[in-house]
Amino acid sequence: MTTVWAGLATGAIYSLVAIGYNVVLLASGTFNFAHAQLLMAGTFLAYTGAVTLGLPVLPTLLLGAAGVAVVALLEERIAIRPLLGRSDAHGALITTVGAATILDGLAAVIWGREPLTVPSVLPDEPLTLLGGTVRPVDLALIALTLLTGVGLHLWSRHSLLGLASLASAEDREAAAARGINVRLLGTGAFVLAGAIAGVFGLLVGARTYAVFDLGHSLALFGFVAIAIGGSGSQLGGLIGGFATGLVYAFAARYIGAEFPQIVVFGVFLLILFLRPRGLFGAALERRV
């Protein structure tokens, strides 16, 4: 059971990345490769807030949320906005990888290349729960991730703003014709995704350390979560992330320390091969 808790806690981080991908994807139709780097930035800001500045928890969270939201806003302005309205869809493949690389590089320049320990805000004694042990901070991470994912799912299905965002991801021009401000919506999605990543910086950092290349593995496992859950499905991404975390934890526990990534890669290839739209994704038809 301890392995299950470990898997769920790691999986929560992957779910968070998947949630961030989906927030932007659903509102603007762009896949933001750099989202994992936003989460990485969140862990560093949490370190700066909690350790360097010695702030209490709430201001640290606010610092993270505001800081990463600003980074996300800048990314949207520089790397995404200039590409809107171009005929070929490949631009964002390059520019978001570029943005991610710049964020990696800046983090390395500002905070160095060594991992930094982000302090845990909750007591460190492990709890015994359902026959396994789990740190309170990990439990909080799991619970808050679930809450965020389910909340975003309900919001996107039932609120006017959420529906507007679904509509504009489906067809920008038609949505704009209905009076939806698709640009503002796209920018808003980046800011929201950034703020969420920033708020979670403290909890994620407590589990992973703050390190400049954290984004690489998070981007991959977040994408595996999307592949399992089907792109554009918040619930799917949530479940996909937890599933990926569990596969990872069990592979590490029962096969060997070198293998979890290889096993996840195998699962990833299988899913792409057998269910390319994800386990929860519906088949879409192409339009001319």
Partner: protein, 607 residues
Amino acid sequence: MALLAHRFRLPIALLLLGLLLAAPAAGLIDAYWARTVMLIAILSLLVSGLNVVLGYAGELALGQVALYAVGAYVAGYIGVGLGATDVFLALGAAVLAAVAVGLVTGIPGLRLGGWSLAMVTFFLVILVPNLIDVFEPFTGGTLGLATAVPTLFGAELTGDGLYLLIVAVAAIWFALVRNLLLSRHGDVFLVLRQSPILASVLGVSVYRLKLLVYVIGAIPAALAGALFAMLDGFVAPETFTFALALSVLAASVIGGSTSVYGAIAGALVMQLGQQTLTRFQDWQLVIYGGFLLLAGIVFNRGLAGLWHDGLAAARRRGLLPKAPAAAAVAEGEAELGTLDGAVLRTEELEKSFGGNKALQGVSIEARPGEVTALIGPNGSGKTTLLNLISGFYRPSGGRLMLGETEIGGRPAYRIARLGVTRTFQTPLIPKDMTTRAFVATGRYATHKVGIATALLRLPAFRRGYRADDAEALRLLRLLGIEETADRPVDSLALGTRRLVEVARALASRPRVFLFDEVGSGLDESDLRVLEHAVGMIREAGGTVILVEHNFPLVLKLADRIHVLSQGRLIASGTPAEIQADRRVLAEYTGATDPADLEPAEPRKGGR
């Protein structure tokens, strides 16, 4: 003069290559520069592989570094572990291994398109240290693997010999990839990058072609790996980092991804930059990222693009002789000849999207030598019907027959190969291609010239290429737009683009033509040319299905008209009959009072 420069291009290139090959032996460059040249050659192989995938097929493959590792370790291991030190064996084994890895990752990674391949290949790079660990008995793990001295026909290859080998392998690769990309295959790769939908209308299986391109792109990476292992005599995991993957990507966009030799320019800039600007090491990632952003947003054609623009400008100002005009071909009267039209029939065809029934029980028949028009208000299902016929949608019910063959539900490229072609509401026009080359891609599936034939520039290639060009030019002349042949096709105006699409469609000698809103946005003179073209196809015996809003145009062109409304066929008949039909009038004028309307029976299929 111009012709001379053109004719002696190959000898000049060979001379320069010979000079480069002889440079260290002749004492022109010292060991440091010889090593630099070798590193640039190796990096340019890596970049070239990425260019083929990214610049031509439009897929981002980040895994060049992983394939580089595969090449290095395979070549290293068979030398040390199996005693096979011959360079040809090493290079061959590396290529085989790369093809295997390419297939294993490409088959799942290309199923969806978009980011899947990028992520699968990115994952592969991140896995490299893991895999080196797991296969420690073969790879030496974190300690690395010292390789054996390479041999050629039993003689040890070191120093200048190795230099010759590395530069020669790179030169041969670039010659081959040039032959591939500057052929009809390269043109079709460009179509694939721009629009997979258009590629499938050309009869190309998008998935298979992307897989092929991806696997081709894996080959130079493995060659580079094997050469690197020979050069350094040692292979260790630290070489194969994600930072290297990013520098390959940056070199590709700096040089220009959609070019053959841009890879060399990009590799040169990147390698020299890394050697000279060592104090910027800390900022390396930021600089790579900046290149990617810049290239993605402002100058996405790279150094190769600047070079071509510069050449073109110099020619305009008369500083350079003009490029020789392509030889005129195919004199004589432009005629369409006869087309082998086929009957296209739908029987009770249905299509629903979720609960929305877009088409219900539609039965029509389009015959050779006739123009069959589909009309109806927006949302009545006309384009849905076209998409069903061309295979972009699967029917939910009913049958779709081409002659005696059931085609409903077959993939678009198979239907295209059976002789169904179409145009689009918004013409699909690729970039970086002349009009003539684009029209010639229409013949890709029907008049195939094999890849090996193109790679080696065999006589069959030249024959096929000449025939394609002649046919394209003939069709352009037929449509009265011969003068656009050597212009970039994406520089043309809308009306001309539609005519180019017609020419592209005709190039495959199809049996059934689908025209989707071919008249919209055209002025009077363009419309007349188009009417004439449709008339010619009908005379030649082709089957034409026309979707059109312009009612007068339809009345003029069509032999039979089918009227759709809300997914149902409400009337069918000759233009005169349709004109007299009050229900059709009601649909078009918006008269809704049922008292105005006679209970007209739809004259389904009646003739």
